[in-house]
């Protein structure tokens, strides 16, 4: 997924993300040792190897599209968030060093996005959802699926911000292309995480880390946060619909206003959506093409290595 290659980020962003991820991972290392102790080493090793192997698999969804597993939330539900960060970091590290999947200079950024934000943000979402719905087995799995989707979005958002801050892409374009494609890729992530956890739970439920029932205070915060988020979303939608020029500018830049692409999304354009109207349709179209191109490129890149 969002493995940024070298050459796309500026020096300040490289430095900043390296510092941020180092700090976070140092904390994760300490916390992980406290919670897992001596058993840590082989468990992390096996999980790292598994994630690495699973990330190379194609899960066909039909019509030539396939899903790939990132595994941030999956790993966090099995070994906990801190060990999870270390596992994903190890995977990202090996991918960058051995397979050039993601740049070496960009390692700090990729580690921050995937290991810290992907796992941390995903796990936080997981606990948030659990606080809203409770900790029964099916809820745990549904919460994990939702969290997996959100973690994909967060990874995309982080990458978009880094690209924009590096002056590589304008912010709106980065948002549409990168976050948009992750919004689609996240569906596969959510499906796979849920499916795998369900099967694991059915045969060996003990493997999924026991989740403490959220406390009253935790649930209070969760509901509060949910209400605030809803409010923010409504305000943002209202704002976007009354000022479609941001999207419009991006579409104009792409030069696709009069193209087959927008004609293809035409049926949606005529539908007066409450948010953004035809620009949402075009944005979706761009995101879809980008996601398709992205996954095709990665597929070819991987096929190129399978010799």
């Amino acid at each position: 997924m969002a493995h940024i290659p070298d050459g796309f980020l500026s020096a300040p962003v490289i430095a900043g993300t390296a510092i941020a991820s180092s700090g976070a991972l140092a904390i994760a290392a300490r916390r992980s040792r406290d919670s897992l102790g001596g058993e840590e080493a082989p468990l992390l090793g096996a999980t790292t190897a598994f994630v690495f192997a699973a990330q190379m698999l194609n899960f066909p969804l039909g019509a030539g599209v396939s899903a790939h597993l990132l595994g941030a939330v999956l790993v966090a539900t099995l070994v906990g968030p801190w060990a999870g960060m270390l596992v994903i970091f190890s995977v990202v590290l090996v991918q960058a060093l051995l397979f050039q999947d993601g740049g070496i200079a960009a390692l700090g950024a990729n580690a921050l996005n995937l290991a810290v934000i992907g796992v941390g943000g995903g796990y936080a979402t997981y606990r948030w959802v659990l606080a809203l719905v409770g900790v029964g087995p099916r809820r745990v799995i549904s919460a994990a699926s939702v969290a997996a989707y959100v973690s994909a979005l967060l990874v995309g958002a982080a990458a978009a911000v880094e690209l924009a801050l590096s002056d590589t892409l304008p912010f709106e374009t980065a948002l549409i292309a990168v976050v948009g494609s992750h919004a689609l890729v996240g569906l596969g992530e959510a499906f796979l995480t849920g499916a795998l956890l369900t099967l694991v739970y059915r045969t060996q439920p003990g493997l999924i880390a026991k989740q403490e029932t959220p406390s009253g205070a935790e649930r209070g915060w969760a509901y509060g946060l949910a209400a605030v988020s809803l409010l923010v979303a409504i305000l943002a939608a209202y704002g976007a619909s009354s000022r479609p020029d941001a999207f419009e500018a991006a579409i104009k830049q792409l030069g696709i206003e009069g193209t087959p692409l927008t004609h293809f999304t035409g049926p949606f354009a005529d539908y007066t959506a409450p948010i953004g109207g035809p620009w949402v349709a075009a944005a979706l179209g761009v995101a879809f093409v980008f996601a398709l191109g992205w996954s095709l490129a990665r597929l070819m890149a991987r096929a190129g290595r399978r010799r």
Binding site: P5, G38, E40, A53, G62, L93, I104, L196
Partner: protein, 255 residues
Amino acid sequence: MSFRHLDQFAQVYSPITAIAPVLRVIGTVAVALAAATLRLGAWAQLGTLAGLVLVLAVVARIPLPTLLLRMLGPLVFVLFASVALLILVPGEVVARVGWISLTDNGLLRFGSALGRAFTALAAAVILVSTTTFPEIVQALRELRLPHAVTTALGLAYRFLYVIVDELERLQRAARSRNAGAGAAKRRRLLVSVVAAVLRRSLVRSERTHRAMLARGFQGEIVSLHRSRVDARSIALLSLLVLVVGAVTLSSYMDL
């Protein structure tokens, strides 16, 4: 598995393999950083760094066609991303291809990103071709990465082979039991195979832990490797770092 022959040049003696792995890693990081942070449009410096890396490849006794072949996979993705920059970055239009308008900024970023990525990529491929995986893990250990990470990586090597072996076996068994199944069924089979392998991996890690304890494991893997860092290698590395650093810095001066 695709990574079996990656480090074939590690067995070949060259001035590069004579240098301790940890220094090779530092050198690669230095070159990658220098390439990645070159100022946009600094074509002369970019050419210099790219040339330097190609020279390093020759010194490492890696034939250039082999080097390029190994870079091909990642390059495809880099190309896609660079083309995205070409099309998506706004600026003054300088050309039109079909319905796509190419801007000056887009071209600048396209060329810079592609060039910088290419150079950094070449450095990484040289490293991985001349250094075995255990050597890389040892280098990371010497660079003081968290023990949890280096130990996990050290164990992951064997785990990966065992896991991939299991994946292939289970997949073959599932496929032979369900020949001619539709796409949806095949996907469900794959998911159940992966889930089974996940379960087994976690159980296997517990058994491995026991085996480690039985042989006195205290929490950290003590390495067999001894550090090969000597003064000459450090001098060479410092020279490399200075040179690439100077090239990159010069790209920011008064051009």
